[in-house]
């Protein structure tokens, strides 16, 4: 596994471990920041894939990431605004943001098939890590019932994306 992918998993795994160690999870404002950041990271990578990939499937996947994660963020922001929950920056959100920036920088050094495989490999790892964080940390820690319900509602989006990313990973592997 590539270093950046390890870093991405490490960030989200560390969140879960930290939660278990402290016995307390992120607060609702911190969850809000984590969710918004997690979506934005994938929107940025998706835009790069749309612009840079020469593979139609990969470009369409990137486009779906932009559409879906923008939609989820819109719903998340609308809810936390309604609840008067102000997203609070935190180490987990910062790490996600940094990891996302590093991924983009790395992808920009690649082209063609190498770009496609690196992008999709990262998408697989990233979505797996986010689903794990949703299940182990975000949903169990959420205090507000509506915030918890939103996390439950959007979890299948990440599952659907992971499903398609794995399909593309296999397809690209055969090329």
């Amino acid at each position: 596994m590539k270093p950046l992918q390890l870093a991405a998993i490490a960030v989200l795994a560390a969140t879960s471990l930290a939660v278990q160690a402290q016995g307390a999870g992120p607060t609702d404002p911190q969850i809000a920041a984590i969710v918004v950041t997690a979506n934005q990271v994938d929107i940025d990578a998706g835009k790069l894939a749309e612009a840079r990939s020469h593979n139609k499937d990969v470009r369409e996947f990137g486009k779906m990431m932009v559409t879906d994660h923008t939609g989820v963020n819109k719903a998340a922001v609308a809810l936390v605004t309604k609840l008067h929950v102000k997203p609070e920056d935190n180490p987990t959100a910062e790490s996600l943001k940094k990891g996302g920036e590093e991924n983009i920088a790395h992808l920009k050094t690649l082209k063609g098939h190498a770009f496609d495989t690196a992008y999709i490999d990262h998408e697989v790892t990233y979505h797996e890590a986010v689903i794990d964080a949703i299940d182990k940390t975000l949903i169990p820690s959420a205090q507000n019932a509506e915030l918890k319900a939103l996390l439950v509602k959007v979890r299948p989006a990440f599952v659907a994306h992971l499903d398609r990313a794995k399909e593309l990973q296999a397809k690209l592997g055969k090329m």
Binding site: D68, G71, V72, K74, A75, K153, P156, A157, R164
Partner: protein, 116 residues
């Protein structure tokens, strides 16, 4: 038998035959039942209910309660195209059959429409 009786018999037979023909033409559905409206809610990347049985002429509305666009697509039978978050798409069931369908954006999402 009188001529009048013969005419009445022929008339009654013709009327009965016409009613039978109309009833036969409308198929299994009771010929005088009004078409029904049904709603399939798209929520949490799932079609709810996953399987829906309707009669020919009934209307099915897919309502997207998710924050992302979806489709309801049964290739060659019906295709909603992109249904935006919060939007709906209406379909009038025509041909009887069992139609599996998917969201073309997220094919992991599956449903079945049965038209009786």
């Amino acid at each position: 038998m009188h001529a009048v009786d013969m005419r009445r018999r022929r008339f009654a037979a013709a009327a009965a035959a016409t009613i039978a023909a109309i009833a036969g033409a409308t198929g299994a559905r009771r010929s005088l039942a009004a078409p029904k409206d049904y709603t399939v809610v798209i929520d949490g990347f799932a079609f709810k209910p996953a399987e829906l049985s309707v009669a020919r002429g009934d209307t099915v509305v897919w309502r997207n309660d998710d924050p992302v666009p979806h489709t309801a697509t049964a290739k060659g039978v019906f295709d909603s195209g992109s249904i935006a978050a919060g939007a709906s798409w209406k379909y009038v069931a025509k041909k009887p059959g069992r139609y599996p369908y998917v969201c073309t954006f997220h094919p992991i999402m599956k449903g079945t429409l049965v038209v009786r």
